[in-house]
Amino acid sequence: MKAQDIRAMILEVIHQIVPDEDLSNLKGDVRIRDQIEMDSMDFLDIMMELRKRYGIKVPEEDYMKLSTLDGSVAYLEPLMKQF
């Protein structure tokens, strides 16, 4: 999966988890939780979706690396080459 597809996938997952939020202006380099109403349980939902869909289990110590959209794409790109 390419970077742009990973970004689209993450946005789709976030939309599923916080469907009331407008994601159209989400900035890639700012913490997602600072831009939309999203809490730690919602973040865990994103982790769960990655596990269910792609078998990717993100270790807790890496959670901070996925706090932004850009950071998430960078972290997931090497793990998602086969998809």
Binding site: P19, E21, E37, D42, D45, R51
Partner: protein
């Protein structure tokens, strides 16, 4: 001991004043055949059932009563997703009840509002869904939802109301099998009388049709209703009744002291004048008519009225062979073999709304104080002689002269019985 009970009952009745009289001033509900009291009542009088068919895990198609309210009227999509079906039902009913009461929440001390909701069971739905979910992942618990605990704690439906409405007073649920809805109302009444709260949101909720286990257990117990026409499946008092229709629903009543209601000029639906809760102490499932009779008698004593003063008995009858017969025997025990009281049943329209039933079935009858009509029980094609009463209201509503007292029965597994008596409000 009986004489002592008499004394207590008369004492309570004698001490009644505006500070100790508890009235219903708002109603919010969702039932399989209506999403507010007006609609619910209209459909009861019109004989309109709300029972249909749903698909459930492992069992395929089952007969059930499902509600059709719009959760998004009071919740964001995320809240619906985060919470439970019981929570959504509770939130809908609580908001509708407050709106109906004409109370402005912004002008009320929210720390003085208590929420007391009856539930038959809670947590089965989420647990079953999670087990179903991890089955797809070879039972790897890494895929078990982190939402499971807040969704399954027993206070969940009441707690979701506090989150949604910003109410900071006490909230909890009361587990009381199928008597729970009535017991929610009783708990609210007691907390008002104790001065613990100024306003009580009381009643019960059910999300039970979303759990296959309850259907499977009733089926294996020989107590799950079946019929080619789902709307004919729930048939209390009919010779061919064959079991329960499992339904969801919710009903929340705003309770407050009469003094507070009068001060703000509230509409008063009725006054809760009598109640009783007791236990069979005899069987896990089978009812005990003697204990049910005692429960109704105790409620009459607390209300300070004689059996002949009751105008309507709304029965608990679920459509099981033994349960309906036992309740009829219990009514004869409390009111006599030749009682002329009007007797009806609501489950024939909506199935068994479990934790909501006691409250929902009561409020469906409250309009009788104004319209002097007793709603019927439907689906009685061939009356079981064991369930015959002079004024059993069958298949068509009955116009009556006046309704002053309504008694609402609710009984549950492990032998928990409740009876509520509501009186037409008079100064």
């Amino acid at each position: 001991m009986v004489a002592q009970g008499d004394d207590i009952g008369h004492d309570i009745a004698a001490k009644m004043n505006d500070e100790t009289r508890i009235v219903i001033t708002g109603i919010g509900l969702t039932a399989p055949n209506g999403n507010n009291l007006t609609e619910f009542r209209q459909n009861l009088l019109a004989g309109k059932s709300g029972v249909g068919k749903i698909e459930t895990h492992y069992m395929g198609e089952v007969i059930a009563g499902i509600c059709h309210f719009d959760p998004l009227k009071y919740q964001k999509k995320k809240e619906v997703r985060r919470g439970t079906r019981a929570g959504s039902i509770a939130i809908y009913c609580a908001n509708e009840a407050i709106a109906d009461s004409k109370l402005a929440l912004s002008s009320v001390d929210k720390s003085r509002i208590g929420i007391y909701l009856g539930v038959t069971e809670h947590g089965n739905v989420e647990t079953e869904n999670e087990v179903y979910n991890i089955k797809q992942f070879d039972y790897n618990v890494d895929f078990w939802s982190h939402h499971h605990n807040p969704r399954t704690v027993a206070n969940n439906p009441a707690g979701e109301i506090t989150l949604n409405m910003g109410i900071t007073g006490p909230h909890y649920t009361l587990g009381a099998a199928c008597a729970a809805g009535s017991i929610g109302i009783i708990q609210g009444l007691q907390m008002l009388l104790l001065g613990e709260v100024d306003l009580a949101l009381t009643g019960g909720v059910s999300e039970t049709p979303n759990t296959f286990g309850v259907f499977a257990a009733f089926k294996n117990e020989g107590a799950l209703a079946s019929h080619p026409d789902p709307q004919k499946a729930c048939r209390p008092f009919d010779k061919n009744r064959n079991g329960i229709v499992v339904s969801e629903g919710g009903c929340i009543c705003v309770l407050e002291k009469l003094s507070a209601a009068l001060e703000r000029g509230a509409r008063i639906y009725g006054e809760v004048v009598g109640y009783a809760i007791n236990s069979d102490a005899s069987d896990f499932i089978l009812p005990n008519p003697q204990r049910q009779t005692e429960c109704m008698r105790l409620a009459l004593k607390k209300a300070g009225i004689s059996p002949g003063e009751v105008d309507i008995i709304n029965t608990h009858a679920t459509g099981t062979r033994e349960g309906d017969k036992a309740e009829c025997q219990a009514i004869r025990g409390a009111f006599g073999d030749d009682t002329e009281i009007y007797i009806n049943n609501t489950k024939s329209f909506i199935g068994h709304t479990m934790g909501a039933a006691g409250a929902l079935e009561l409020v469906g009858n409250l309009p009788s104080f104004e319209d002097n009509i007793v709603h019927q029980t439907i689906n009685v094609d061939d009356l079981d002689p064991d369930c015959a009463f002079k004024n059993l209201v069958i298949n068509e509503p009955r116009k009556v002269d006046k309704v002053d007292y309504i008694l609402d029965n609710s009984f549950g597994m492990l032998g928990i019985n409740s009876a509520l008596i509501v009186k037409r409000y008079e100064e």
